[in-house]
Amino acid sequence: MKTLADLKKIREKAQEEMKLRGSNVRIKIVVGMGTSGIAMGAREVMKTFLEEIANRNLTDVIVTQTGEKGLSSMEPVVDLIEEGKAKVTYGNMTPEKVKKVVVEHIVNGRVVSDYVVATGE
């Protein structure tokens, strides 16, 4: 490493690895992981999100989890929270649906209304 530009490159890559701790997050995906969510396959849903996001190199998206939300009949339930926009809740998620949500909603910014079970707070 010989210049400030080299340092900057290392920094950007390293910041990527630390993004969970940073504030540089555009979209937060919250997977409902209560007992019923897990029973309905929430772990698979979460795994798929993590994989898809990694494959596409989406650096400003994080995946986290929450408990039971009381929507048992629609589990697995996932919230997409985007800076400055209403929260979107998707229900009855499967790995297949996750892939579509990643492409449509997260990458292209179009809500997949077929899967939406609630919006706003």
């Binding site: 490493m1 010989k2 210049t3 400030l4 340092l7 290392i10 920094r11 890559k13 390293a14 910041q15 990527e16 690895e17 630390m18 969970l20 701790r21 997050v25 937060k28 919250v30 997977v31 409902g32 992981m33 209560g34 007992t35 897990i38 772990r43 979460m46 993590l50 994989e51 990694a54 190199n57 650096t59 994080i62 995946v63 986290t64 989890q65 929450t66 408990g67 039971e68």
Partner: protein
């Protein structure tokens, strides 16, 4: 790119490690492996997060949930509930009477704090150079080397007005300018990591928690003064800090941040780590220099100062760890920003180590000028247990005690000095009303007697005499005139000693006399220690009206000095009592009292002995 969704930051500062943090970490690895979740969770060891009293502590991102006093048994629950089901475990969160604080930044302990030196401590993995760089690390050095002259760097420091954090409060830029101005192709920069003040552990935490920051600060200083060789002098009691700094140096070398032509410039730098071997006086800069040279660590008279004749007779700057820790941030954010914090004469923030009878013991960083009240009651969470606030000792063995009446004093170099205390390295020992001030003063004096290097007689002999007088007073053999004698000795030791140790060692005694003279007087005149700490000046007594005659105390007494019967009740034969306190602890109906003052029987006996002795003489 990683698949991780949680950063689990486990504090692995010495405090938390001593409370079992490493076991917790292992347990997390085990449980996560069982659940097949290793790939989802980053386990990161960080440096000290501050609230050592609650160790082991951890913070879990992205939410920033803060857990305290975690045990290995709690780990499965955290994984099951929090990591899998997303339900943070409220039981492990910090709470006060009204609420539970889930997120780290809500915790009151952190609220009045501004972290500059400690910015990365507890936030990054200290063993990862990448994480340090991610927080902006080495940018200050790069900018200084490629875009600034050494004089520019010194000018920034001058505008910032950073004063040494090692105790003296001497402005950093003045020393730097002096050494910069001297033409010599051999100059040295030394980082003083000897931290010996009892009650201080900020330097350890910085070295352990953010070693690259100290290294970067040192290299900026080296560039400014024209040194190409540096030394870390770290006390041997800090093995982890030594390892972390050594590793950091190697990592920096791996990336070309150490060695020749750093950042493509003609700045070359090498650094070595030297360790102490258990001598407090080696924190004094001349003593430290002699110790690095392989000599006994004796201070030598100043002048000459290290700036003109330091290590191997060459111009040398010695800076404290925390001083260096401030430098990279000042260079990046500028002097003006630094000047927005602190007071007219004391700029910036200061790290304090809060210990003693206080709820949140640990490490905090606050702007200078904060009042003691805010520091102790807001940040520190107030007193722990029943006792009321009585005094706070600032500046360790060279500082002094302040009392309730000083709670609104701003904490800066000058205000403290005016009142007989000292900023020192930033140790803050809080004491409740169960502490005897004469005894505390004696303790600090004992420390200084043991640590005096013995080179000059006022310090070697004077301190010993002071200690002996204090010892007598706490044993009920004080005399009229002792207080005055202590003051006289104290003033002369201060005047005549060669180095800072002797020059400040009488402070704890002088300040306790100043603010707690009545306590000294009652020890001497009434043979009474109101806090019942000095065993010769208190007694145990069985209250017959409460005693049920169970004989438990008599059976537990190691000297068999309690006799009696169920009917007669029990009594203590005072002359044989060794004040072990067993009886007090075991009495099922709390019929035994601790009473301040020497028991009349004992007084009489001692007077008789004295009379006999006088006769013999």
């Amino acid at each position: 790119m990683s698949l991780k969704r949680i950063d689990l930051l486990i504090c692995c500062g010495s405090g938390c490690v001593s409370a079992g943090a490493l076991k917790i970490k292992e347990r997390f690895h085990e449980v996560l492996k069982e659940k097949g979740m290793e790939n989802e969770i980053n386990i990161i060891e960080t440096g000290c997060m501050g609230p050592c009293d609650y160790g082991p502590v951890m913070v879990i991102y992205p939410e920033g949930i803060f857990y305290k006093t975690v045990t290995p048994e709690d780990v499965s629950e955290i994984v099951e509930e929090h990591f899998i089901k997303g339900r943070p475990v409220a039981r492990l969160m910090l709470s006060d009477d009204e609420r539970t604080f889930s997120v780290q930044k809500e915790v009151p302990f952190y609220q009045k704090q501004i972290k500059v030196a400690l910015a990365n401590c507890g936030y990054i993995d200290p063993e990862s150079l990448d994480e340090y760089i991610a927080t902006g690390g080495y940018e200050a050095l790069g900018t200084a080397l490629t875009e600034m002259t050494p004089q520019d760097v010194i000018d920034v420091m001058k505008a910032a007005g950073l004063r040494g954090r090692g105790g003296g409060g001497f402005p950093a830029h003045i020393k730097w300018q002096m050494v910069h101005n001297i033409q010599d192709n051999e100059k040295y920069i030394i980082c003083n990591g000897d931290e010996g003040d009892p009650g201080a552990f900020m330097d350890r935490s910085l070295l352990e928690g953010d070693p690259h920051r100290i290294l970067e600060g040192m290299m900026i200083a080296a560039y400014a003064i024209g040194a190409s060789q540096g030394f870390f002098y770290i006390r041997a009691e800090y093995p982890l800090a030594i390892t972390r700094i050594r590793d950091a140096i190697e990592q920096a070398r791996g990336l070309g941040l150490m060695g020749k032509n750093i950042f493509g410039t003609d700045f070359n730098f090498e650094v070595e780590v030297r360790t102490g071997a258990g001598a407090f006086v080696c924190g004094e800069e001349m003593a430290l220099i002699h110790s690095i040279e392989g000599e006994r660590g004796n201070p030598t008279p100043k002048p000459p100062y290290p700036a003109t004749q330091g290590l191997w007779g060459k111009p040398t700057v010695v800076n404290n760890v925390e001083t260096l820790a401030n430098i990279p941030t000042i260079m990046v954010k500028g002097a003006e920003w630094f000047n927005t914090m602190g007071t007219q004469t004391s700029k910036g923030t200061k790290v304090f180590a809060i210990t003693g009878d206080i709820r949140n013991t640990g490490l905090v960083e606050v702007p200078m000028g904060i009042t003691l009240r805010e520091l102790i009651f807001d940040v520190g969470g107030g007193m722990v247990g029943e006792g009321k606030f009585k005094a706070v000792q600032l500046g360790g063995p060279s500082g002094g005690c302040l009392t309730v009446e000083h709670l609104d004093v701003p904490v800066d170099y000058e205000s403290l000095k005016e009142r007989g205390a000292m900023m020192g390295s930033g140790g803050l020992i809080v004491m409740n009303d169960e502490k005897c001030m004469v005894n505390v003063a004696k303790f600090f004096m004992e420390f200084c007697v043991e640590e005096s290097c013995g080179k000059c007689s006022p310090c070697r002999i004077g301190l010993k005499q002071m200690y002996e007088i204090l010892d007598r007073i706490t044993k009920g053999q004080g005399k009229e005139g002792d207080i005055e004698e202590l003051q006289r000795l104290g003033e002369s030791v201060k005047m005549l000693s060669l180095c800072g140790l002797g020059q400040t060692a009488p402070n704890p005694v002088l300040s306790t006399i100043r603010y707690f003279r009545d306590e000294y007087e009652s020890h001497i005149r009434d043979h009474s220690c109101s806090t019942k700490v000095c065993l010769d000046l208190m007694n145990f007594n069985i209250d017959k009206s409460r005693c049920i005659g169970c004989s438990l105390c008599a059976r537990k007494c190691p000297t068999n000095c309690i006799t009696g019967s169920r009917e007669e009740k029990y009594v203590i034969h005072q002359l044989e009592c060794i004040k072990c306190g067993n009886c007090y602890d075991v009495c099922p109906v709390n019929a035994i009292d601790k009473i301040p003052g020497m028991h009349p029987e004992m007084k009489e006996y001692r007077a008789k002995l004295q009379a006999q002795k006088d006769l013999d003489d």
